[in-house]
């Protein structure tokens, strides 16, 4: 039980650093676990053996090595344990098909990472405020 845990699925270490920095600049103190590809993310969330982590929020990139972000999302939604898990797609692309496909697969939100760091910080602030404080999460399903 990790109350307020954030799982950041991101393969680019620069982006990991920047995201962590942006969260920190907003005084979001929640624990952040980083998975650097899709398989690792699934290993955390839907492990074949052992306990899974149950984050309050998943920040999911689309372009990932091995297993892509949208495939991860599909697997999560197919599994009862993670079907209602809040997942925000946080990515560089603003391609329409990515946005449409994300929502179709059950993303809770789609946020494009701004190029300008100041904007990124602002986006992180809004995300943290909304998903960690404002939003009422569904009850957890323990597998």
């Amino acid at each position: 039980m990790n109350d307020g845990l954030i799982l950041l699925v991101e393969d680019n270490p620069d982006d990991v650093t920047l995201t962590l920095r942006a969260l920190k600049r907003n005084n979001i103190q929640n624990e952040v676990k980083v998975a650097s590809d899709g398989e690792e993310a699934l290993a955390y969330l839907l492990p074949a053996v052992g306990h899974s982590i149950t984050p309050a929020l998943v920040l999911l990139d689309v372009n990932l090595p091995k297993l892509g972000g949208l495939d991860v999302l599909r697997r999560l939604r197919d599994d009862e344990r993670t079907a209602t898990l809040p997942v925000v797609v946080l990515t560089t692309s603003n391609e329409e098909r990515d946005i449409v496909e994300s929502y179709r697969l059950g993303a809770n939100s789609y946020v494009r990472k701004p190029v300008v760091f100041g904007d990124f910080v602002e986006a992180a602030r809004v995300l943290g405020l909304y998903w960690l404080l404002v939003n009422q999460a569904p009850p957890r399903v323990d597998g």
Binding site: D15, T91, S93, K113, V115, F117
Partner: protein, 737 residues
């Protein structure tokens, strides 16, 4: 050719005897006799009416068919002559021998010219009826009566003939008649027929019977009749001459004058009865020769008689004696024959030249037709119904390397592959079966492979309407068919290439899509790091950097932002091409207000007077049209930054029913119209970056989106006086939202 000859014979079928040799001659003459006389008059068949130099009628063979008019006249003559002879004989029998008037027995002539024997009179009645029947109608009851009469007459004269040959008087001919009358006759056997009479009657009887037989018998019969007539004629003139020189009696065995004259008339009548056969045939035709012959015959029958009679008459009258008479006779005959020679020679010469002219005309006609078929580019040929060549033209010879002489009589099976020859033959027969020209396509070998022909085939008909040959006229259409094939090939090739290109295009669109997708993901991430870490540097180590160092970092960040903008615009530009258009009704006014709201939010300090007309609706892709307005309003907003007060208008500029033209105007920096065309090209900028920032892609994106919708865009402006952008969304007259 054999077929052709047969038909020629049929054409000449009007002529008797020359054609249906097997049929009785009488039948043919009968057919002619049945034709109404009026028809004869209607046809210009009068031999005298035809000029000598006129070309002979087509299809006339030799001998010429009998002229119907002439035939009718001659047959009437035979009937008249037969009737006359019967009448004379009847007068002799009834008046002379029954009632006892010697003058009647002499036929009205002086009694010293001799009395006709009663048996001779009976014989003449019978032969006269036979001659009359001969001229009326063959194979009828009259004809049968005529035959019976001829046989009876022959039988009657056979008895005294046998008597003469045996040297005894059978006295048969004296049975029926009164002895008193017979006593008036000279000689020991007063009623007995003379030798000449027996011979003459026998020849005439035999001749009349033979004339009813077909073929050569008929000719022989006429010869017999002529021989008998000659005997009678000799006796007649002999009697006249004897009378002239003073002799009172006929010589022993000679005919009495009345009998001689009657037999002569009977001979002429008999010969006229069947004029279209035997000796007289040549005289009955409608040809010029027959016409001349007939005139000559008249001369031959009259001139010697007249010339021979003249001295006799002169002697009777005591005008001149024998010496002068013989001179006149000989000289007259000489003159008459000489005149006939001249006339015949003249006629023959004219005929000959007419014939030559006709031949020349035929040759000219033939040469003309040959020139015609030999100078055409079409292939012309004619084959008989058995498929044998009858004719071919020069083009045929050239194409197939054959001379027409070698072609005659051969068939296509001798010349072409079996399958081809069979096809030709089938087409030939099809044209014959149809009976009219049939068009078809045929294939024949050529120098460079098979050639295609469009062929018209038609049956060639004789006068009776029967086909005896097939003519074909073939035109080479190989070039056309090859061109058509080439067009087909090129079309197929073109279609294939279009498919290939389309596939290539689709592939490259996919590639572009994949490229844009990866750009969208991967190109922006480094920029974000650049900006982010620059900011971290400023945040964490800003204190250790002097003003220049901090400025460098700020420039780095500014360029990062700019690069991000360019990437976004490039993606939009490619998106304008890539994405599928979704056409829906779009309210441009509403879109414009939302775009403007964003602009105001981004720069809340700007004061811009914006006027957006209501209900500017159209049909199009909402997403892309929003991009259009974002760029147009973005430009208007940006370039009017130095105007005070800045104004932006969005309105319907024109709606002429064909198309709706929208306009976005501002009172900003404007542009030089010289560069108006460059406005819509990618990366073309009319202002320095120091003045107005931008990627140089915005208007290119706008133009591309509008073009994809079927619309267009153009601009008007002047430096410092603002700009106006006019655009249409849909193609003219397209359904509007």
């Amino acid at each position: 050719m054999a077929k052709h000859l047969t038909i020629d014979r049929d054409e000449a079928g009007v002529g008797p005897q020359s054609t249906r040799a097997a049929a009785p001659v009488g039948v043919v003459a009968g057919q002619l006799a049945e034709a109404p006389v009026g028809t004869h008059r209607a046809t210009p068949a009068s031999p005298a009416g035809r000029p000598l130099d006129a070309a002979p009628p087509a299809g006339v063979g030799w001998p010429a068919p009998a002229d119907r008019h002439v035939l009718a006249v001659l047959r009437s003559l035979s009937i008249v002559a037969g009737g006359l002879v019967v009448a004379i004989a009847a007068v002799v029998l009834v008046g002379g021998w029954w009632l006892g008037h010697p003058a009647a027995a002499a036929g009205g002539l002086p009694a010293h010219t001799g009395l006709m024997r009663p048996v001779a009179a009976v014989c003449l009645v019978l032969l006269g009826i036979s001659a009359l029947a001969l001229g009326v109608r063959p194979a009828s009851w009259i004809d049968r009566l005529g035959i019976a009469c001829a046989v009876a007459g022959l039988a009657i004269c056979t008895v005294p003939l046998v008597g003469y040959l045996a040297g005894v008087d059978l006295r048969f001919d004296q049975l029926l008649f009164r002895q008193a009358v017979l006593a008036a006759l000279p000689g020991p056997h007063p009623g007995r027929l003379t030798v000449d009479g027996v011979v003459c009657c026998a020849l005439l009887g035999v001749g009349q019977l033979a004339m009813r037989l077909p073929g050569g018998w008929s000719g022989l019969g006429k010869a017999a009749v002529l021989a008998g007539g000659s005997v009678a004629s000799i006796d007649a003139y002999g009697a006249i001459y004897a009378g002239a020189v003073g002799g009172q009696r006929t010589a022993a065995g000679e005919l009495p004058l009345v009998t001689a004259v009657a037999l002569t008339v009977l001979t002429l009548g008999t010969l006229a009865a069947r004029p279209a056969t035997g000796l007289t045939r040549v005289l009955t035709g409608g040809s010029v020769g027959a016409s001349i012959g007939r005139r000559m015959l008249v001369v031959a029958l009259t001139v010697p008689v007249v010339l021979g009679t003249l001295p006799i008459l002169a002697r009777y009258a005591g005008l001149y004696g024998n010496r002068f008479g013989v001179g006149v006779l000989i000289t007259g005959n000489v003159v008459a024959f000489a005149a006939m020679s001249v006339v015949i020679a003249n006629a023959a010469a004219r005929l000959e030249s007419a014939g030559a002219r006709a031949q020349q005309a035929a040759r000219d006609g033939h040469a003309l037709l040959t020139a015609l078929i030999d100078n055409t580019s079409a292939v012309i040929y004619m084959r008989d119904l058995g498929g044998h060549y009858m004719l071919a033209n020069r083009e045929y010879e050239r194409l197939f390397g054959l001379r027409r002489e070698d072609l005659l009589g051969r068939t296509d099976h001798d010349l072409f592959p079996a399958e081809m020859a069979a096809a030709f033959r089938e087409n030939d027969l099809a044209a014959v079966a149809r009976g009219y020209p049939v068009q078809m396509e045929e294939v024949a070998p050529g120098d460079d492979g098979e050639h295609n022909y469009v062929t018209v085939k038609f049956p060639v008909l004789d006068e009776a309407g029967q086909a005896y040959a097939v003519c074909g006229i073939s035109t080479d259409i190989t070039d056309r068919t090859r061109a058509e094939a080439e067009v087909h090939r090129l079309n197929a090739d073109l279609e294939r290439r279009v498919r290939e290109r389309t596939a290539e295009l689709e592939a490259s669109t996919k590639e572009l899509d994949a490229f844009a997708y990866s750009v969208s993901h991967d190109l922006r991430a480094p920029l974000r790091s650049l900006d982010g870490f620059s900011q971290m540097l400023l945040d964490d180590y800003g204190g250790q950097l002097d003003e220049d160092g901090q400025d460098c970092l700020h420039r780095l960040q500014a360029n990062t932002v700019r690069m991000g903008q360019i990437i976004d615009d490039l993606l939009n530009l490619s998106r304008a091409t890539r994405v599928e258009l979704k056409r829906n009704p779009v309210d441009l006014s509403e879109l414009a207000r939302s775009v403007l709201a964003e602009l105001r939010q981004a720069e809340p300090d700007r004061t811009v007077a914006v006027d957006i007309a209501e209900h500017l609706t159209t049909t199009g892709d909402q997403h892309l049209l929003r991009l259009v307005l974002v760029n147009l309003f973005g430009n208007a907003w940006k370039f009017s930054a130095r105007a005070d007060p800045a104004t932006v208008h969005f309105e319907l500029f024109r709606d002429d029913g064909e198309e709706r033209v929208f306009a976005v105007r501002d009172n900003g920096a404007g542009f030089n119209m010289e560069y108006a065309a460059k406005l819509f090209e990618p990366f073309q900028r009319l202002h320095s970056r120091g003045e107005f920032d931008g990627s140089g892609l915005g208007l290119a994106i706008v133009a591309r989106i509008l073009r994809r919708h079927g619309g267009r865009i153009w601009a008007e402006g002047a430096p410092g006086e603002g700009a106006a952008f006019y655009f249409t969304v849909t193609a003219p007259a397209e359904d509007r939202g």
